[in-house]
Symmetry: C2
């Protein structure tokens, strides 16, 4: 709904797909959504529950479902494979970045991804927001860029599809760490050190998996990491802040599952990610977070960047 309102404002004719007839009715008649209290959307945004009708009538399709629904969405992407798709959800599916997951059976798909520091609660209030739209097809990224440009929303284009997706997914893991660090250490020095070393890990991850180092410096990298690790609007951060040993109740906290996925990905590809390991040990092996941090501090002194 937040991105729909940006596209609407930039002049596009927007149809939102919803599973729920009740939500569709609410959007079409009252122009409100259950996800955003006290906000009235533009009446020109239409909602429809027929996914085939939605996609077949559109030139551009924005996939903003939760990541775990990606297998339910995939058949429609394959059915309408000439459409232009923009993926805005963040995570891995079956151990792959989402563009790779979708392209497995259709390498020719027109895919782009959107990421960056952008709480939807702030987008609908028209706060200044910048994001990156990346596609290995540079022209497609530029097309989507124009579709999302308003006075308050500023998209940049890029080509590092893989790097942008890895950053967007793994930052949820570090947001949990940041929350834990803030509640246990209350130290700006410690938190900055942790997040900087997290960025060094992300650097290894992205470059080893075929992404570009510059992406780390950008909106999807450090931008989104800063946002997610410094705000109570971040579910992952708040989960870490309040963590007391229970992961059962937190199904919407994407970083929990991502911690296991990136732990496995790092193992499989031989990438040294000590902070991911520490969080994995904390969440899945019930180790103490502070004990894990102390272990990190005792590692041999070294150069900040390997030559």
């Amino acid at each position: 709904m937040a991105l729909a309102s940006v596209m609407d404002e930039s002049g596009a004719q927007v149809t939102v797909w919803a599973r729920s007839e009740v939500e569709a009715e609410r959007i079409n008649t009252l122009h409100v959504s259950k996800y955003f209290e006290n906000y009235v959307f533009s009446p020109s945004i239409v909602c429809c529950t027929d996914i085939d009708a939605c996609i077949s009538a559109s030139e551009y399709v924005v996939i903003a479902t939760p990541v775990h629904a990606m297998d339910a969405i995939k058949p429609y992407v394959l059915k309408y494979r000439s459409k232009k798709y923009l993926i805005t959800c963040k995570g891995l599916f079956d151990g792959d970045v989402l563009t790779d997951y979708l392209r497995k059976d259709a390498p020719e798909l027109n895919l782009a991804v959107l990421s960056g520091p952008s709480f939807s609660e702030e987008i609908i209030r028209k706060k200044i927001t910048a994001a990156v739209i990346a596609s290995r097809n540079a022209e497609l990224a530029v097309e989507f860029r124009e579709l999302f440009h308003t006075d308050y929303f500023r998209p940049y284009s890029g080509t590092d599809e893989v790097g942008v997706q890895l950053c967007g997914a793994v930052k949820n893991v570090y947001a949990i760490c940041a929350g834990m660090a803030d509640s246990r250490y209350s130290s700006s020095n410690m938190k900055s050190a942790l997040l900087t070393r997290a960025l060094a890990e992300m650097d290894k991850l992205v470059t080893d998996m075929g992404g570009k180092q510059e992406t780390l410096l950008g909106l999807a990298g450090v931008g989104d990491l800063m946002l997610s690790c410094h705000s109570s609007l971040s579910r992952n951060y708040m989960f870490g802040f309040n963590y007391s040993g229970n992961t059962e109740t937190a199904v919407t906290t994407e970083g929990i599952k991502a911690a296991a996925e990136f732990y496995a990905l790092a193992e499989k590809n031989g990438i040294d990610m000590p902070i991911i390991n520490s969080l994995y040990n904390t969440l899945y092996r019930k180790m103490d977070f502070c004990h894990e941090v102390n272990t990190l501090m005792k590692r041999t002194l070294k150069d900040e960047f390997l030559q």
Copy 2:
């Protein structure tokens, strides 16, 4: 005093130089300093007002004076030119990074620099802190690294002397911007966008001036930027937060002078630094900060990174 306590704890014999007899007496007898209330230092830290005696008796010399005293310190560095120096103050002097300023008349000097996210108030309370020590002489950086290693202070070594210094100095300018942004926009999206684009400017600055891109990703780069832009402990941030048009009263706010210095440096070297320009216009040409931000938002859409 904060770094003295780290070195003392790592096993070095530390003599602090102070101009004031009163402060020296206070440190030597009561083991307290006027700069840190309610903290008692180790009695093994000695203070002395004779700068020649201090330097001549030492193997390693840490220069932790304010930047504006660099010309008063320089004659002593030239007099004792075989000593090993670590510079911890941050800024430009006569438009140069401090190592270049000192080396002008003595290219053979043994110099290293220390930077990173490290509020001294937290260091003396033994909060976990990481920093980078860089020298074009890699072995010297490693020597200093060992000298500062304790349970809570973790130094990394590096060789990008120039990049580390530029990052440490210019971040004060962006900390002022961050304070202004927080008080005027109260938006996490907007602040993250601003700081990420600040990092893109720092990237251009550092690489154009001969530094390395990886430094931006490190403790002196994004680490210190995050710290300085997210904490009320930062004088520069608080100056920006409370800014209402008056720069006269803020002599200890290093970012004000740095804004003019980096504006001139960017002009001279043809580096495009729109955020520096915006702050320069706000502070020195009395433009409105929000007007400057709106101008930034209206720039032509483009790729996030130039190819």
